[in-house]
């Protein structure tokens, strides 16, 4: 594995049925990687393995060419922003930021000022952490993690504790800040939008396995598995006759047994010829509308089209501009 941060066959076994890994991937210097997956997929375990809070059963973890597999967390030089921030309640903002600095920053108070300036909290040194808003606490946590100049920044669901209105703005600010600092960052999220927006690349995890690692576009356009196709973006999953009816659109000839096809809602269109169906519901979203249509065979599909493309109750014909084909997942 190449990269600034590398995992090589890393495995953590929790119980007979729950195992994370073996995982192998690399993160380039200065890159922001999102670990995306549903709860229980092992994304937080990966982050904690990187931070050193968990020890792996097998494999090795490298940071900047150094093997840190057995290095305790205190000596890994990984900055971490915790989901609930974990600010020390008995210390004020300045003391929190100074915690990781040599001599608690006494020799170099400029480091504390700089770190707070970075997150736009200059002058907050003597504030109690309990007095801060959620967004401010998040920024103190970030300043504290960055102050000792770590090699890697790890963030555990960094935006999940903010209210939705604040989340989108903070997301952009966070990305700008990380890029300005230029630090290699890895963050955990269960929201696809967040992963796409904040990460340079996204690693999709499921049941402790790495399903796919790539850019947002790659994941969406060329998902490596049925799981990725359905977890990332909206998808109509089709089996049986209706799948065969659409199957040709993807090219490559007829459908094989045990194959499933996935069609994105925007890749379906109302056309002059195609699969007959009836419009059951219409959900207006502004620029476009989602139409829930039911084929004569009883399959229900979602179609994204212009708001005036059809009305509820209309008989329509559906054509697909492109489809994805996967082997049926064996659960």
């Amino acid at each position: 594995m190449s990269g600034f941060v590398t995992l090589d066959g890393v495995r953590k076994r929790w119980s007979a049925t729950v195992t994370v890994g073996p995982l192998s991937f690399g993160v380039a210097q200065g890159e922001i990687l999102a670990l995306l997956g549903p709860s229980g997929s092992g994304k937080t375990t990966v982050l904690r393995l990187l931070a050193g809070f968990e020890t792996s059963d097998a494999g090795r973890i490298g940071i900047g060419g150094e093997d840190v597999t057995a290095t305790p967390p205190a000596r890994r030089r990984c900055g971490m922003v915790f989901q609930h921030y974990a600010l020390f309640p008995h210390l004020d903002v300045g003391e929190n930021v100074a915690f990781g600095l040599a001599g608690q920053g006494k020799g170099n108070p400029g480091r504390i000022v700089d770190a707070l300036k970075l997150v736009g909290l200059e002058g907050f040194e003597r504030r109690r952490v309990q007095e801060l808003s959620g967004g401010q606490q998040q920024r103190v946590a970030l300043a504290r993690a960055l102050a000792p100049e770590p090699r890697v920044l790890l963030l555990d669901e960094p935006l999940s504790n903010l209210d939705p209105a604040l989340r989108e703005r903070t997301r952009r600010e966070l990305r700008a800040l990380i890029k300005r600092v230029g630090i290699t960052s890895i963050f955990v999220t269960h929201e696809q939008e967040e992963a796409f927006d904040l990460g340079d690349r996204v690693a999709v995890l499921e049941s402790g396995r790495l399903e796919q690692l790539g850019t947002a576009e790659e994941l969406y356009e060329r998902p490596a598995s049925l799981f990725v196709a359905t977890f990332v973006g909206r998808a109509n999953v089709l089996r049986g006759p209706v799948a065969r009816a659409f199957g040709g659109a993807g090219g490559g000839g007829g459908m094989k047994d045990g194959e499933v096809i996935v069609v994105r809602p925007e890749r379906l269109a109302f056309a002059a010829a195609g699969v007959p169906a009836v419009v059951r519901e219409r959900r207006y979203t502004g620029a476009a509308a989602f139409f829930l249509v039911e084929t004569d065979g009883g399959d229900r599909l979602e179609v994204l089209a212009a708001p005036d493309a059809a009305r509820v109750g209309d008989r329509v014909r559906l054509a697909a501009t492109s489809v994805l084909r996967f082997a049926e997942a064996h659960a």
Partner: protein, 546 residues
Amino acid sequence: MSARPGGGLTARVVLTVLLAWLVLYPILILVGDAVGGGGSGLTAFATRPAEWRALWASVWISVASVSFAAVIGVPLAFLFEWFEFPGRKTLGSLIALPAVLPPFVGVIAFLFLYGESGFVARAVQRVFGLEQSPWRLQGAGGILLVHAYSMYVYFYLFTRAGLAKLDASMLEAAQALGASRWSTLWRVTLPLLRPSLAGAALLVFMTAVGSFSAPYVFGGGFRVMTTQIVASKLNGELRLAEVESVVLALVAIAGLVLLRRSEGDDIVTALGKGTAPRRRPIGGAGARAFSTTAGWALAVLLLLPHLTLVLISLVPYGSWTTETLPPVLSGINYQRLFAEPERLRPLVNSLWMAAGSTAGAIALALVAAGLVARGRPSRLRGAIEGLIALPWALPGTVFAIALLTTFSVHNPVTLRWVLAGTTLLLPLAYMVRSVPVTGRALLAGYRQLDPGLEEAAASLGAGRWATFRRVTLPLLKPALAAGGSLAFVAGLGDFVTSIVLYTYDNRPISIEIMASLRVSELGVAAAFGVILMVVSAAVLGLGARR
């Protein structure tokens, strides 16, 4: 931390063994000695009617104490939680005072106030021109009076806490469904208070079963198990004392199991938070004036024993004979106490033993709570928690006899050394008895602590020790202060274990007070009592500060 599971296991095994040696082992030795040893103790216990009378007395006194304490404490709690009247806040905290002072001090104060030559008796004698003291505060009545006075506080505090958690909308719902005030009280309020009431009943029962000071001072010929055990020990019948201790332990455990069962789940908290009912002002000028006066009269009544103690401590030896109030007041008792090294000794002894035992109990609790709260669930974890709680379930006298039995034998192979007769056994006993208090405080402290904070410290480069020193310890400070102050005050005012285990060289304050009373040096005894009271209050005040 999971980084070193092996190290954690070793620490847990070591701690479990240490706790078991201190807490469980002496009890096992006690049981073994009582049951074995030719059965002479068993025969003596079974064949003497006095033993059965004492056993029965312990049981019924404890049950009666629970009833009396509830009758006083529960209505008071309703009054202070549901009604508004002038002075409610001040009175509300004054009322809790008897609980924070060492039981022994309260007993002595009671003696000076209501005893046969106390103020009240003298006043009555004077008013009615009686030849003799109108009463003798002795026997079961005296014990129950003191118990009710000092133990109602548990019901008062628990019920108030329960009422404060109550959701006003639940009571309103009952009324909207047509229930009258009374039926709301019976069908909604009291059932919801059940966990609080059962908790208070358990605490009072356990305190009353183990109560020694009150029966010792006021019992006279009326014996309960605790006084019977000490009497047997002083008579040299150690085997009998052992059997009696085991029997008393069984009574305590039976009470514990029965009351725990009636506690039920804390349904009030399970339903989530509501706002407590608003306090109603007491209507009508007359009713308000009455309740205010009655409230303050009650406060004076409750504070009177402690004020009496202060007054008596100012009476020089031999200056007060038949007068209702002492004719001369001076600070001579305190002067003598601090000027004569021999008299100061008990104070110094009590201070170092309380300080040492508190330090030990804190250290044990810190390690134990850390392992219990941070380790993975395991059988050892449960064992540690059980061992920490065990000394609470057993009366102090039982523990004293158990420690005495265990550490009167030299046999290093079985981990027994001769400590009886040395100055070390008593502080060791204080420490063991304090482990539940410090353990519970620190366990609660650790559980409130977000483990993420320790991980955050580690990610910022702090090693194990630095994390402990810079994050864990400062955040545990309130728990340390609370547990430590309670342990210190318990050690400082202890009488139960002291009377069994003290030697001349480490005689504590309580023993010196009894000795002074025996030679009628009431002033000196009271002066010691006041010092005990002031130091206890100061330490508890410090411990409660945030």
